[in-house]
Structure formats: C-alpha cells, structure tokens
Amino acid sequence: MNNRFRPALLVAASVIALAAAAPAFAGKTLDAVKQRGTVKCGVTNGVAGFSAPDTQGNWSGLDVDTCRAIAAAVLGDGKKVDFVPLNSQQRFSALQAGEIDILARNTTWTLTRDASLGFNFTTITYYDGQGFLVPKKLKVTSAKQLKNATICTQSGTTNEKNVSDYFRAQNIPVKTVVFESFEASFKAFFSGRCQAFTTDASALAGLRNKEAPNPDDYIILPELISKEPLAPLVRRGDDEWFAIAKWVPNALIEAEEFGVTQANADELKASSKDPGQQRLVGTGEDLGKLLGLDKDWSFRAIKAVGNYGEMFERNVGPKSVLKLPRGSNNLWSKGGLIYAPPVR
C-alpha cells in the first residue's frame, strides 16, 4: 500500500472505530487480550536493539522483549504477541484507535504525550539522549561545530524538535532535511546528502554498526542534546491493564536486583528461601491476583526474556551489535537510573 496514505487511513479507521465504540471501554483490554490469545504490540518498522525483525520475520529487541514478557505474564507464553510495525506518525493513532494493546516503540515520555493524547506511560525501560552521527572526514568533534551544516532526521519525532531547540539556543544556524521514514532519512545521510544525522544515541550506534558502508568512517559526537526516557505506553481509562504494563517491566528490573535469572529461575522456585526472590518466582505471597493474573506471572515473564540486565545485555549491551555501555541504564544500586518500586 502507498505509504503516504497509511496515516490517513489509520485516522479514518480510528474515526470509524471511535464512532462505533462505546466510551465505556475501561478494564476491557485484559479480557480482550485473553479472548484473542495474543497481545497486540506496536513496534518500530526496524530499529536494531529495540525492535527489528530478522530474515525469518522473528522480532527481537528491548521493546520486543517487554511485550513478550507481558504476553508470558498474561497468556503464559512469550510468543503470543502480534507485532504491529508502525512509523512515527502512525503510532499514536494506532494506540488511540485500539489497534494495539500496548505501544513499545522507543517512544519518549513527554508531558504533551502523557497529558493530552489519552495515554499513560508505564515504566522507563531505557534512558536515552539525542546525539549526532557525522563522517570522520569532516573532522568535526563537537556538535557546536555544525554551523551551516545540513542535518538529516525523521519527521514527527522529538528529535526534530530537539534539533531546532538546541541550535536555536546556541545561536548556530543549521538546516534540517526531514524525511517521512527513518530508513529514507539515514539512507540520505549515508549517501552524503547531509553532514550529520540525528536521533537517539542508541539508534545511532545501531545505524553505524549495521547500516554504514564502513562503520569506522563515522563517529558519534559527544554531545547528548536531550533527555529521552523511553517507555511503553497504554491507553488511558484501563487501570487494570495499565498496572500490568507497569509491573511486568518492574518485576524484570527487580529480578536483576535479586539475582533471579532466566537460567536460575526454576532452581530458585524449588529452593529459594529469600522472600524477595520467592515473590518473583511465585512461591511467596500471591501478588498476581492483585493484577488480575495468577501467582506465576512474574516467574513466566523472567523465564521468557530473562531479567532486565539480561534483556539489556542481549539486545543493546556489549554482546549485541550495538555494543552500548550500561551507563545510565544500570541499576540504581550500581550508579544508574534503573529503579523499580518494590514488587511486594
């Protein structure tokens, strides 16, 4: 289908869906998910490390694992997820219209999105910041040297606005070339149309390592010009589903804190005497019933994708193509920002 019209079609579909749906929708997402047997999860059309399909069509990434963990907690199987690839402009309409149950698409938590689009952000799963990728041959070492440069980016993102804000504050004139799709924007950059490419630093790392003709020809500039807390989001008005979408990622973070891993979860379930571990593997007090789930909800989520640290390592950490350091995304107890309220 003609890509240009997809946002318009989505909106048209939303109008019809909204007109047909009664406003009393609250609390029904969990029922709908159980009846359907899958979680519908909105993801990117391909950002390495966060959500990208391989050649066989299997999705992987940090956002993908969040959805798999929720599917495992709710439906008992991390594979019961329908991934819906969405571009930046489509993502919000799709969630508003109920085409997806959760949007896990490296989306930045901002006040406007939180307060005016009818959404609730859940748990921050990645602390990012916007950076710049430039060819080494330009001999640029700081974003402040980009005077009169042309910068490629994608439309409809916080990135586009941050670039305007940053260079306006610095009083440095730059030009932006804005493309509808992420792919078109980075391809234009690698073809030499722009002197710099800007998006979240995590995605820059993925681009450099996967898409650059020769990764060593490009550097990521040291400046991070924004805070980009990436979090999944759900529709407002369904507190039950909101709680599940919050507490599954929180449980994965707490699992890392308590040393519960994909590998040792079974063993800990059989023998652990640590109350914190017992709650996570389903042998302690039953927290699942408070979420409308059973006692093993977090045990299954951990078994499906591992704890937060394992998710990070596998998708974006040193063992992945992105090779990103833990940095801000380390546990609070190790100097990072990753912090879950107590699962108890």
């Binding site: 007109a19 330009l138 493309f179 509808e180």
Partner: protein
Amino acid sequence: MNGGASRRGVWLAWAVQALLVLAVVAGAVWVVHHALEVLRARGVRSGFDFLTEPAGFSISEGWLDFDASQPFWRAFLAGLINTVRAAVPAAIFSVVLGTLIGIGRLAPHVLLRGICTAYVELLRNVPLLVQLLMLAFAMANLLPDPTEPLRLLPGVWLSKGGLSVPWPMVGEGGLHFEFPERGDFGVSGGAALSPEYVTIVAGLSFYSAAFVAEIVRAGILSVSQGQVLAGQALGLSPVQQLRIVVLPQALRVIVPSLTNQLLSLTKNSSLAVAVGYPELVSVANTTIGSNGRAFECIAIIMAVYLLLSLLISFGMNRYNARVALRGWR
C-alpha cells in the same frame, strides 16, 4: 394539468435532493461529534487551538521563512506555499514537455515517434512514488559530495547539497548579486535549489508530461483531416498548419482533460513527503507527531487540497470558455 404534474415533479425532485443533502450533512456531523465525544472521554485533547502555539520545529526551505518559534498556522502556510512552489513549475514544465511529446507521437519521423511513444508508455506505467525514489536515489549517488561541489560556471555549484546560483540581493550599495561560496560543509549563499525540490519538480513534470502528451495527441487527432488539407492548400508549412489551424481547434478537446491532469499533479505533489521536501503533508505529519492532533491535521490537508482543486478548476474552466469554439456552444 400536464404542466402542474411536471411542476410537482420538479418540486419533489428538489425535496428529495434537499433531504439527501441534509441526511449526508447530519450523518457527517454525528460521526464527528461522536468521535470527539469519545476522544474527550479517553482524555485526548482536540480542537484547532494548537494553531496559535509555537511549532517547535523548523522548515529549512521555501519562500516563506519559518523558524521554530513561530506558530503552527504559519508552518501550515509555509507548507502550502511549498506545495504551490513545487506544483506550479511542475505544471508548466509538464504542459510544455507533454505538448512536444504529444506532437512527436504523430510525427512522420519514425525514430522520433518511437522515442515519444516509449517515453509515454514507460513513464505512465511506473508508479510516481517509484519514479521519485529512483530520482532521489540517482541524485544521492551520482552527484558529488557537498564538500567537493562541481563548479559548472563561476558562482554556479552542483552537489548533493543542491544547485546553487548567484542571486540578486538588496544591500546598502543598492542591488548586487550574492555569489554562492564554498564553506566547510558545502556551498552557502546565493539561491539554492535543494535536491529534494529538484526531485519533486522533475518527477512530477516527467510523469505528468506522459499524460499531457496523450491528451494533446487525442486533441490533435480530433481535428478533422480536412482542416489540415485546407491548411496545405493555403500553402502553410507543416509547423504553421499545426500552430495556426490544428492546435487552436484541438484545445477544446485538450483543455477539459488537461484540467484533470493539473488537479492530479497538484495532489500528487503530496508524495514529496517521501523524498524529504517540506510541503503541506510533511508539515502535517510533523505536527501529528508532536501533538497528536491527527483529526485536525487531516482535516486541514483535505480542506487545502479541496481549495487548490477548486481554484484550478475555476481558472481552467474560465480558460476553456475562452478557447471553446463559439459556434459549438
């Protein structure tokens, strides 16, 4: 008796029409009202109040300077002007090129005829989006880097950054020409046509020219052969026959179809969003991404294209009234 019945029939017809219109309008109002109600119930903000707020993004090219501190309505205006900036030159080029190719398809010279036929068949059978992406791809790969621009003439540079030419500026010493100069990141100064702009104007022109060519060919063929013979009898050269006798008569067939073609061309300019040219749809997409007012932005897009289409139809219909054969009306 008969007259009374037919008058009743007319009234009945009008009443039915009015009821239909009323039903359609009422249906539309209900759908919009209900959708807004549901949006409100779900905590989604709606309305056009955002238009006066600062946009927060910038538009890097066009006739209307726009920076991030200016309001959304001005961004939409800049987008609309950029749409016109692409559509008008494309319309002119496509009509000129299409007319030449259309005449070429009827030329006695077999090679010329063949080339023109091949052009039409190739261009009109490949989707426009594909052609635009191919053009953009070709430019991105064939042109030199902005840091190593090609100097075509003094002050005229060509690179992936676009085509830069000297441009008159009004300064302290009166009018002078500003010459583009090489900088660290490419050429700056003067006037520049971005590759995105060149892509959309060239793409639209080439594509629409294929359809214009067919319209022109049909128009010429609609003129009776006797007119050509009459021209010959008067001793007119083949070019004179075409210019003085055939084309003026062909216009009455050409103009209505050409109107449709110009409407399509204008609407097709919205594909520019795919190649990075900041026109109306691109601005609307960015706006939807930043504040989520999808309904409002789509409504603006629809209203603007409707307005543009009506303007084009109005202008072309006026022109058509002038060129139509008087005796035939």
